[in-house]
């Protein structure tokens, strides 16, 4: 996976980056929340691993910014911090994190958490793909919406966006439908 790290302590960042690389991930390391936020906007990663206490923007604000920012794919956020205790954990999770690990981390535990992240990201991608599929009737071209109703393409689209339809006839249909009928009428 593509993993973005936000960690101000150089030694901790080196250990984390190397551990992740050995697990087969691609790593981008940033020294604070602001830098991570800027990188995130340029190239959204699969996973963000962020420290909590950092100069400038802390990990909590980074979580909140990422969650309020629209991205095509869901970014998985893991807080990795020396801050322990239920209160901190809940605060971090409420800020938008998906997972919370305390330092110093155990590489096997981190690997297991990232396997869960990969599974969840796979499922969110599957949901996104399925939501993007519109079932359409092969004959009448009606579309089945989320409420299981079959509706015309016109009403499906007008209900969901500002577009409205003006009915017209394209040259190809004019030829096959209109001219043919006119021919039948005049010839018959």
């Amino acid at each position: 996976m593509d993993i973005l790290i936000a960690e101000d302590d150089r030694t901790s960042a080196t250990v984390l980056s190397e551990t992740l690389r050995r697990m087969g991930h691609r790593v981008t390391a940033t020294p604070d929340g602001l830098d991570a936020w800027s990188r995130f906007q340029d190239i959204p990663p699969d996973v963000v691993i962020t420290d909590w206490i950092m100069p400038g923007m802390d990990g909590l604000e980074l979580c909140q910014r990422i969650r309020s920012h629209h991205t095509q794919r869901y970014p998985y956020i893991l807080i990795l911090t020396a801050l322990t205790g239920k209160e901190r954990f809940l605060e971090g999770m409420d800020a938008g994190a998906d997972d919370y690990l305390t330092k110093p981390f155990d590489p096997d535990e981190l690997a297991a958490r990232l396997r869960v992240a990969e599974r969840i990201l796979g499922l969110t991608e599957e949901v996104r793909r399925l939501e993007g599929l519109l079932p359409i009737c092969s004959y009448c071209k009606r579309i089945r919406d989320q409420a299981d109703r079959w509706t015309t393409i016109e009403s499906y689209i007008t209900e969901r966006c500002d577009a409205s339809f003006t009915h017209s006839i394209c040259p190809s249909c004019y030829q096959t439908e209109v001219e043919m009928k006119l021919g039948e009428m005049t010839g018959g």
Partner: protein, 114 residues
């Protein structure tokens, strides 16, 4: 420091695997990055600046624990808590202990990895 060694080598091996080159690189980076943090800690303690002490203690705690230098990490954790509570009354004595423990880590690394 009691029975605990300056660095928990078992932990370090868990983090670095059998990559001795990376292990050396990591420890060198720790020895390079820590003195300015210790200097900042000393300045903060002498100036009675709890915010500076808290921040520097937090940094040194993190990096020390990342290499398995638990005695330094534990000392920094206590100092960080005291600074958070804005009580620096015992900070100078505690910093002396942390500096002594750090010197042991430094000597331990130089004797085992040079």
């Amino acid at each position: 420091m009691g029975d605990s060694p300056p660095i928990n080598r078992e932990y370090l091996t868990t983090m670095c695997g059998d990559d001795s080159e990376f292990e050396k690189e990591l420890l060198d980076s720790y020895l390079e990055a820590s003195p300015p943090v210790l200097a900042s800690l000393r300045q903060g303690v002498e100036a009675g600046d709890a915010a500076v002490v808290r921040s520097a203690a937090h940094t040194l705690k993190g990096s020390s624990r990342a290499i398995g230098a638990e005695p330094v990490g534990a000392g920094c954790e206590t100092l960080e808590e005291q600074a958070r509570a804005e009580d620096l009354s015992g900070a100078a004595a505690l910093l002396d202990v942390i500096e002594a423990r750090y010197r042991e880590v430094d000597a331990f690394i130089r004797s085992h990895w040079s």
